[in-house]
């Protein structure tokens, strides 16, 4: 009995035929029928009657589990029990879901926040003069540039909330200054202004030496002839 059991469990591995599947038992009927069966359902079907005389090589492994299953009353699964022994996979692997310490260390440094907010790093400012202006403004305002600079570089040492508030206020001021400067620039670069400038220079040039080495926009042609 135990021999049979062990033979059932341990002889299935080497006895596996690569051509004939273990899950199916196929028998051949005399008038051309091919009976497909799984060992599980073997007891359900009316297989008591003799099926085929010419039971060929495919049948030779089937009587053992069949008779054993009948005797013990087990239903032997169609797949061998070894297939359930594999380890389980956890579908999102823990490297994606784990809340590691590195997550906090990435974005929480106040210095980095400052770097992002700092107007000198901004992409929208092209000229460096604004920064200089802001620096001078700073100096006039709180008269201790070294202290403020220390605060800006290392705000997480000092009381960082107040420092941040001050910096934010400065940033707002700087943006206002930038806007005003941009407005002035725009006005300067207007078409009318350019024309007027050119005309003024021309008058000056007529009175003084006639050399034109400055660029001028093409004017409206005056047809005097």
């Amino acid at each position: 009995m135990f021999q049979r059991l062990t033979r059932l469990f341990f002889s299935e591995g080497p006895a596996s035929d690569p051509i004939e599947p273990k899950a199916f038992v196929s028998e051949e009927e005399d008038d051309g029928w091919l009976i497909i069966d799984i060992p599980d359902s073997y007891t359900l079907t009316s297989s008591g009657e003799d099926v085929a005389e010419g039971q060929t090589d495919s049948i030779d492994s089937s009587p053992l589990p069949h008779s054993l299953g009948e005797r013990i009353g087990w239903s032997i699964p169609p797949h061998p029990p070894q297939s359930m022994d594999e380890s389980w996979f956890v579908t999102p692997p823990p490297c994606f879901t784990a809340e590691g310490p590195g997550h906090n260390a990435v974005g929480s440094s106040p210095l980095e926040d400052l770097l992002i907010e700092h107007p000198s790093m901004s992409v929208y400012i092209t000229s460096g003069s604004i920064v200089v202006e802001q620096e001078t403004n700073e100096i006039t305002r709180d008269r201790s540039p070294s202290k403020s600079r220390v605060e800006r570089r290392t705000p997480h040492h000092a009381s960082s909330v107040a420092a941040k508030a001050a910096i934010l206020g400065k940033v707002g001021q700087v943006s206002r200054i930038q806007r005003a400067k941009a407005m002035v620039d725009k006005r300067k670069l207007g078409r009318k202004n350019l024309q007027r400038q050119n005309l003024a220079r021309e008058f000056q040039g007529r009175n003084a030496v006639r050399h034109r080495n400055y660029m001028c926009q093409p004017r409206q042609r005056q047809c005097n002839h």
Binding site: G32, W33, L34, I36, D37, I38, S41, T45
Partner: protein, 130 residues
């Protein structure tokens, strides 16, 4: 008797099971096999007439248990044909409908059986990358 067997096996390559047998004889066969095996489904598995590469099966008449799925049946056909795993197989029901592999044979049989009581299944090679 042997020459007759030879002639039928020659015919088997060219004509289908339906063309070889008349309707009443097919119905008679189904009834006989159903009396003998009441828990089995009679299935005819043939090579598709457009198939050129795959070999044809020696036996075309199958009796399958109703609870196995179409996928199990297809894998059984693969084993019968002894196909390499690189070759893909496509199984059609009634030569026109692709078999759903999760369907059990009983579902396929009740839905798509022929008027004679057989379930006709044909196989052909599947052009995967085509």
């Amino acid at each position: 008797m042997p020459p007759l067997v030879n002639s039928t096996s020659l015919e088997l390559n060219t004509t289908s099971f339906k063309q070889r047998k008349r309707l009443d004889s097919r119905i008679h066969e189904v009834n006989r096999v159903k009396i003998r095996y009441p828990c089995k489904i009679p299935v005819i598995v043939e090579r598709s007439h457009r198939e050129k590469v795959l070999p044809s099966l020696q036996k075309v008449k199958f009796l399958v248990p109703p609870e196995i799925t179409m996928g199990q049946f297809v894998s059984m056909i693969r084993c019968r044909l002894s196909l390499p795993p690189s070759h893909s197989l496509c199984v059609m029901i009634n030569e026109r409908q692709m078999a759903c592999l999760s369907m059990t044979m009983l579902e396929a049989y009740t839905g798509q059986r022929d008027q004679d009581g057989f379930l006709y299944v044909s196989y052909r090679s599947h052009e995967v990358f085509g």
